[in-house]
Each structure stands twice: as structure tokens, then as C-alpha cells.
Symmetry: C2
């Protein structure tokens, strides 16, 4: 495999999921850190060389290939491993279903609230962001409820063993407390996070 460099912000759950996946599949990655809150990914140099969208994570593969979007980077790393059930068409589609769910309903809710509360700080939030909190919080609660219902009937998201959906959903879900969401309200979700840690699939993010 070509040399892998993760352009990341160590605080970000989107970046953390790539490090988790790399660790699970035994891929060596080096990292370059940026501070998202300080705008370090919005510079002209970053946008012209790393990613025009001005965001991290970006997985650099060799010297010339840059892959943005955390879940695409995780998929790239886990291709050919048991984390990607590519020969079971329905289970594979189910895995993607929960990966898209994560980017649509978990990252913009738990991830954003956590960023505002823990990185920006409640007293320094912009008025326009404060106005969005109730909406994001309601959507976070509804999304955790959707996960909780699903996990009432299955050990991991796709069945008896974890796949990539579990890894990417773990990244923000296990730090929901940082977004002032109490996982005791969603006991199946809480038990699933603990299971992933107990069975050594995922370790908690320490910042």
C-alpha cells in the first residue's frame, strides 16, 4: 500500500473514525494536524493543495491523491477486510445505509453540538449558531432513538459481528455527553458502545 497521511483535527470524530479504522485493519498512517476552529483548513494553500472544500479529514494516498469525506476514507482503508461485507449484497447495503445515516443525522447533530460546546464554548457561540441548537438537539434525540430501536433486535448494526457502520457510528455517539446528550436515555445504544469497547473493536477518544 502507498504511504498514507491523514490530514486531521485530533478533536474531530470524523477524523477519529479514520484512525480507528486504520488501527482495526493494521494500516500505518501518519498524521498532520490542523485546528478547525482556528480556520487552518480554510487557507488558500490548503484549499489549492489538500481539498477545495476546506475541510478535514482528508486521507492522502501517496503523493498526489487526496480523499476527503471520512466515511469514504474508512471504506478505502477497510476494503477487502471483514469490516466491509462486499460479497453479501444486502448486508453491504445495510452497512452503507447506516454510514449515510451517520453523516446525515449524527455528525451534523452530536458532532456539531459537541464542537460548539467543547471547542468554541457556549459563551463564544455566534447568535446564528445558538438559534440552531434546539433543532439540532431534537434531531440528535430522534436519531439516537432510531439507533436505539434498531439495536433492540441486533448485537451490532449488521448482525452478530461489527462492520464499518459500527465503527463510523461509534465515533460521535460514544462522546454524546460532550453534546449534553445522556445515553442513559437510549440504553441499547449505550450497551452497544460498551460492547464495541469490551470486545476491543473501538477505544474511546481522549482529547
Amino acid at each position: 500500500m502507498q504511504e498514507l497521511v491523514l490530514h486531521e483535527d485530533p478533536f474531530s470524530g470524523n477524523c477519529y473514525k479514520i484512525r480507528l479504522t486504520a488501527s482495526l485493519v493494521g494500516a500505518n498512517i501518519s498524521t498532520v494536524s490542523y485546528n478547525l476552529a482556528a480556520g487552518e483548513t480554510r487557507t488558500a494553500r490548503f484549499c489549492s493543495t489538500i481539498d477545495a472544500n476546506g475541510r478535514v479529514p482528508v486521507l492522502q494516498i501517496g503523493s498526489e491523491t487526496f480523499l476527503p469525506e471520512s466515511n469514504a476514507a474508512c471504506y478505502y482503508l477497510a476494503t477487502g477486510t471483514s469490516l466491509v461485507p462486499e460479497h453479501d449484497r444486502l448486508r453491504h447495503a445495510n452497512m452503507l445505509r447506516w454510514m449515510f445515516f451517520e453523516q446525515s443525522f449524527i455528525e451534523p447533530t452530536i458532532g456539531t453540538l459537541r464542537f460548539w460546546y467543547k471547542r468554541i464554548g457556549k459563551h463564544d457561540m455566534r447568535e446564528e449558531d445558538i438559534a440552531m441548537v434546539p433543532n439540532r438537539r431534537k434531531l440528535a434525540e430522534d436519531s439516537l432513538e432510531t439507533m436505539n430501536i434498531h439495536l433492540g433486535g441486533t448485537k451490532f448494526f449488521g448482525g452478530e459481528t461489527p462492520d464499518l457502520a459500527d465503527v463510523v457510528l461509534f465515533a460521535y455517539t460514544h462522546v454524546a455527553e460532550d453534546a449534553e446528550l445522556d445515553l442513559n436515555c437510549w440504553m441499547n445504544v449505550k450497551a452497544w458502545c460498551q460492547r464495541l469497547m469490551d470486545e476491543k473493536y473501538c477505544s474511546p477518544l481522549h482529547i
Copy 2:
């Protein structure tokens, strides 16, 4: 293949992309329509039988399998066709990169603005939604710019021929005018939409 039923709202770009994909791969699907704006996907019956998250599209496969998330449904339908370059690890990751980009940056911006303007109506929008318009509009413009830069160097998102990323990005992008975004500001994007139509990969959504 088992019988396929698309639970959808015909206005929705997320639903349209599934019909486009089914048409491209020659899959027969029947449809059941719901009115999202009227809350028809939020009923207890819908949530307990079709999708706990209360949303469409959901692709029903046979009598017991329900697959939410539009891009996962498109992937399921296109598995094994040239729209999913599964044997080229990097191109496949690039395809997923743009599919996740679509759900993170195009659907919540162009898709939501279009829903508010064309379905709810500007005069009937909630105060809290009106407050979000500037943010969504700025993100839509930035995202179209990111696409425009990429399309400056390639005919389709992954190269000389379309893949699933083109199909799912087309769904909301070609109706950007409904969200009061003028594609003449992003000429590479406009030319790419036209190319997909000229080469008979995608037809426009008529509502």
C-alpha cells in the same frame, strides 16, 4: 431479483435518484407515494412498518426488507453494473467520496431550500426555517464551487464515464433553480448536467 417497491415522495430529489438508478440498470420498481410536507411518513404505522426514522425514500426488497437512505438504495440497485467501479479501489472510494459529499452538502442545502420554496412556500415557512436560509444558501454556493472546481478537470466525477456519484449528484443539482441558485455561476456544473442529459444518462425531474 426480489420484488422492489419504492416508498417515495415524487417531489423529492432523494427519491428521484433511485428511480433514475433503477432506470439505468433496468430494474423494475413499483412505487407507493407519500406527501412529506403533510407528514404522511411520520405516522405510527409508517414508523413501525416502513422506517423508524419516519422518512422516504425507503426501498422495499421483497416483503420484509426495508432499506432507507437514498444513496444506499442506489448502490444496492447498481451493484454489479458499470455504475459501481468496485474493482478499482481508488475510483470506488472517489465515487463514495462524492456520494457522501452529496448527502452532507447538496441535499441539506439545495434540497432543503427547494423544499421550503417550492413545497412549503416562502409565505408559509416557519420563523426558525427562515432564520436558517442564509447559512444553507452560503453552504450551497460553496458546495457548488467545490463541484465546479473538480469538474474543471474531468468530464464526469470519476473520469470519462459516469458512475453512481454523477447520478446521485444530478438529482438535486439540476433543479438548483428551484432553490434560487443560478447554475450560470458554476458553468462546469451546468455543462456537466447538460452532458448527463445529452448522453441519456439522466433525464430531468418533472413535477
